[in-house]
Symmetry: C2
DNA sequence: AGCCAGCGGTAGACAGCGTCTACGCCACGC
DNA sequence: GCGTGGCGTAGACGCTGTCTACCGCTGGCT
C-alpha cells in the first residue's frame, strides 16, 4: 500500500479521463488504459466487463465535470436569469472547445449504450439547472418551459458541435462562436437586457 | 465484363453507403466493404490509400443525398419562405432519423479529416440553400443572414443530435421532435404565419 | 494450526482490424 | 513476341477487444 491507495476501478477511470482529455477519444483503448494504470491488459475486465462499460464510466465523469463547472459558474454569477443563462451557455461552449475529446465521447451514443451510461442520473441534473433558469427568464408568450429549455439546449449543443466540426465558421464567416451564441439566446429569450 | 460494369472505386463507395445505412457506422470497416464488393481486403487500397479516404467518400455521398432531398422538398413545396424553411427543416430531421448511421458518419470529423472531405464543396451548398431561404424570411431587426442561418442550422442540428441521443425526449417529455422544431423555428423566425 | 475458498490480477490465445509489401495476372503498345 | 504498367491477390505485422486458464494472497472456518 504505497501511493496508489485508490482501488484499481477508480484509477482506471481516472487514467481514462486523463487520456481522453489529452489524446482524444480514439486513444482510450482498454489496453492503453491498462498500460498507463500499470496493470495487465486483462485487469480492467474485473471491473468493466466490456469496453463500453469503461467508456461509459469515463463519460459519466465528463458529465459530472461539466455539471460541476456549470454550477460553479452559476455560483459566481449572481445576476438576473438571462445573464446567468448566458454564463451557463458560455461554460457549455467553452467545455466543448477545451475538452473536445471528452465532449465527443459524452455524446457518442453508439459507444456508450445509454443503459450503462445511466442517462437519467448523468445528464438530467444539467438539464434541470438549465430548465430552472429558463423558467425564470421565460416570457409569458414563450413555449412551455420544458420545450423552450430543450430547444435552447439543442441550439447550444448544435453550435458546439458544428463549430468544432468546422463548417459553421466557414459558412458564417465568423471567427468565434460568440456571435452565434448571442443570436441563439436572443432568438429563444428575446433581446438582451441593457 | 458481366453485370458490374462500374469500376471498383464506385462499387466500393456504393457498398459502403449501403452498409452504413443498414448496419451503422461501426460496420463500415475496410475489410467488410471489400468482402461485400467481392474483392480481397487489399484491393480498396488502390483507390483509397487509407480508411479515412474511403469513409470520406461515403460521407460525401451522404451530403449529396441530403442536399438532393432538401432540393427535392423545396421543389415540391412552392410557398412562402417560412413554410419552405419548415419543410427543409423537417427533411433534415427526417434524414437524421431515418439515415442515422450515415448522419453520424457525416459529422464525425475525427474520422473524416476535413481536407479529404472537401467540406467546402460538400456541405456549403446545403448551407447556401438554407441561407437563401433565411434571407427571404428574415425580419429587419433580425441578426445578419449568415448569423441567423448559422444559428438556425445549429438549432436544427442540435435537435437531430440530441434527439437521437435520447436525453432530449427524456428531459422534455416529448414523444416526437416536431414540438422542438416548431419552437426553434418560431424562436429564430418569429411566430408562424396563419 | 491447517486448510480451503475466493478475490484480484496475470498471461496466453483468438479473431478482427488497418496498413504495408511482394507477388501475379492480363492487356496493351512497340 | 516481348516488356511494361495497371489492377487485384495474399501474406505478414502490430494493434485491438474478448475469452479462458492460471496463480498468489488473504481471510475465515474447523
Amino acid at each position: 500500500m504505497s501511493a496508489d491507495e485508490t482501488g484499481l476501478r477508480t484509477r482506471l477511470v481516472a487514467v481514462g479521463v486523463d487520456l481522453v482529455l489529452r489524446e482524444g477519444q480514439s486513444a482510450i483503448s482498454l489496453r492503453e488504459i491498462a498500460r498507463r494504470a500499470g496493470v495487465s491488459h486483462g485487469a480492467p475486465r474485473r471491473y468493466f466487463p466490456t469496453h463500453v462499460d469503461l467508456l461509459s464510466a469515463i463519460a459519466r465523469e465528463g458529465f459530472a465535470d461539466l455539471t460541476a463547472r456549470v454550477e460553479r459558474t452559476l455560483h459566481d454569477v449572481d445576476a438576473d436569469p438571462r445573464t446567468r443563462l448566458t454564463a451557463l451557455a458560455r461554460t457549455y461552449l467553452d467545455f466543448a472547445a477545451t475538452h473536445r475529446g471528452m465532449f465527443e465521447l459524452m455524446f457518442r451514443h453508439d459507444l456508450l449504450d445509454s443503459g450503462r451510461l445511466r442517462l437519467r442520473e448523468t445528464s438530467l441534473p444539467l438539464f434541470t439547472v438549465l430548465a430552472d433558469l429558463v423558467a425564470q427568464a421565460r416570457r409569458p408568450t414563450d413555449a412551455p418551459t420544458a420545450v423552450l429549455a430543450g430547444a435552447l439546449w439543442a441550439n447550444l449543443h448544435g453550435i458546439a458541435q458544428l463549430w468544432a466540426w468546422g463548417s459553421l465558421p466557414l459558412a458564417t464567416g465568423a471567427t468565434d462562436d460568440d456571435t452565434l451564441l448571442r443570436a441563439a439566446l436572443e432568438a429563444h429569450l428575446g433581446p438582451a437586457p441593457a
